[in-house]
Point group: C2
Chain length 342, copies 2
């Protein structure tokens, strides 16, 4: 009898603790969160001019503003993610949209993917050449087709038929990117740089965004121009659901940037969610392990941004820098580039 009373007492304490934790979590959840990235890599302050840094910061700020405006007004995480990425795609600084790098054939081929954490629906395009904003094409595939992934000229045709803005491939030609290609051409080297002045080769010029909206929905998107001098129709992780992008209202939203092949083999974006749901890890634990241990041990460099259903967010990377920024409903906001400033 005495034991029974002890047991009942212990159960009551445990229940009370759980409820308390639940309340804490609920009250701590900001109304909305937006996190963006503009690529990870060997981005070091000593290799950057003040003007260039300022230009990057301005675009990142504009992307945050575009997304936050939507979230503050009670808009959808999906709309905020798309809006933020479109700003970075339209800027020539990032390796996505306008600023995309050249392939070995001297063309520009773009990849993007998009996922809705509420419906678990997703869309992606690979190797498009005439879509001005590949992230919107990825979303269109999700919204207006029964498919998840469209590739090549078929994906361009789909976007055009559905009224998306298209441009000549030459729209994407920027002088800086052409210089980068000329440096690599004739070599078998490929490059993920998004800066011609950059003497170090490792820069992963993907852009991405993840958001939690006031309704509690999560969304994620990623967009890239791939690698300078890429050949053979190489596809990285950016258009691959589970590798470069994943969102699930039960866990988190993730957008990756890095050496794409490692992200595909390790199914990185989905792995964050799987570790949370199946192992009970926190977003922080799951992403720290994946970026700083699992990928690092394999030599897979890069980073990711992620937000969980409770509004916790992380921006880990195992490279010297990652263009990144965040804004939350409770007034926290920052833009950062190098490691120290995280």
């Amino acid at each position: 009898m005495k034991q029974l009373i002890y047991l009942l007492f212990a159960t009551m304490i445990l229940t009370a603790c759980r409820e308390e934790a639940g309340r804490k979590e609920a009250s701590a959840r900001p109304d909305y969160v937006l996190v963006i990235h503009g690529g990870a890599g060997t981005i070091k302050q000593e290799l950057m001019t003040a003007e260039k840094e300022q230009a990057y910061r301005q675009v990142l700020q504009a992307a945050l503003n575009a997304g936050e405006q939507i979230l503050r007004a009670g808009g959808a995480a999906m709309d905020a993610v798309e809006a933020a990425i479109r700003v970075m795609e339209d800027a020539p600084l990032f390796n996505a949209g306008k600023g995309a790098v050249f392939t070995n054939a001297g063309t520009v081929e773009l990849d993007a993917s998009f996922m809705d954490g509420n419906s678990l629906n997703a869309g992606a395009v690979a190797g498009v050449r005439t879509v001005k904003n590949p992230i919107s094409a990825a979303r269109l595939v999700m919204d207006s087709s029964v498919h998840v992934m469209l590739a090549g000229s078929g994906a361009d045709e789909f976007a055009r038929e559905h009224g998306l803005e298209t441009v000549e491939n030459s729209y994407f030609y920027t002088e800086e990117r052409l210089k980068q290609l000329e440096k690599r051409k004739g070599t078998e080297e490929v490059s993920l740089d998004h800066d011609a002045e950059e003497p170090v080769k490792k820069k992963y010029g993907t852009v991405g965004a993840v958001a939690l909206d006031q309704a509690g929905n999560l969304a994620a998107g990623t967009s890239t121009g791939g690698m300078t001098n890429k050949r053979w129709g190489r596809v990285g992780d950016a258009p691959i659901i589970g590798a470069g992008t994943y969102a699930n209202n039960q866990s988190c939203a993730v957008s990756c940037t890095g050496h794409g092949e490692y992200y595909i083999r390790n199914v990185v974006a989905y792995d964050v969610s799987a570790r949370m749901l199946y192992k009970g890890e926190s977003l922080q634990q799951a992403t720290q392990y994946i970026i700083h241990q699992k990928l690092k041990e394999q030599g897979g460099s890069g980073g990711l941004i992620a937000v969980d259903k409770g509004g916790n967010f992380v921006m880990p990377f195992n490279t010297p820098g990652m263009f990144r920024g965040y804004v939350t409903a409770d007034g926290r906001t920052a833009i950062a580039i190098y490691k120290d400033s995280q």
Copy 2:
């Protein structure tokens, strides 16, 4: 004190049980296992002729033989998987290689992927048109490039440059497939059938193989022609590592067949491994849940084949039938098509 003795006793019993289970598992592991599939769907005995069924069974048997020969001789799981899939690709019956279906544009575009569970390296091709055996192209990408996925004409070029056998796209034209396209053309319908005589639309004509070799290495591969009348360069799960194919010596090797979009959104192949490693589920538990609950609830039809590191294997599907077969070192072997015969 009495309690302490009870506790010690209980611990000893538990430890003994665990050791016993461990020994059982070790002694039960067959020296090798090969499992193959030729697609899932509304495959029903009443819709099949005896001749047709015999033809399917012959190819499945030939595929098992080709793979087993390698495994019996102590060869690699990777070689067995590739050999078994090549047999099915060379047969006109399955929607992969020779028997691939037509796109809306009247061409044939093939996808395949391959993964080595030992190194966790992987390769994939999407939308190739001139590679006779796409599974070998996928393996070539893994073995001879730093990339994981190549798409479109670039992937064809890569295969040709590396000496893989190429054919004219017309090599893949079979009369039956042309009839299928003509039936679908002018409609917006796509079809995953691999049988023109089949009045029901849902047949997922992917082929795949998974193997465990004598050294304890796992491998998986998947190959497909996609959907009849597909447009816009649609890419399914077959060439996507994590969705259609995954292998990891720590857990299992998986090849999927079904409505590809559901397999991409649910990252099915990797999910089997994640549930085993993170949740401690058995191969049986993980795959039963994914195929018969998770996918079924979403309306995602199809199946998968999988073998784990202990040599346990499963072939679940939520459709009326799935072409499938297996062979093990300890003499178990069977070929099956319909649900009843599993």
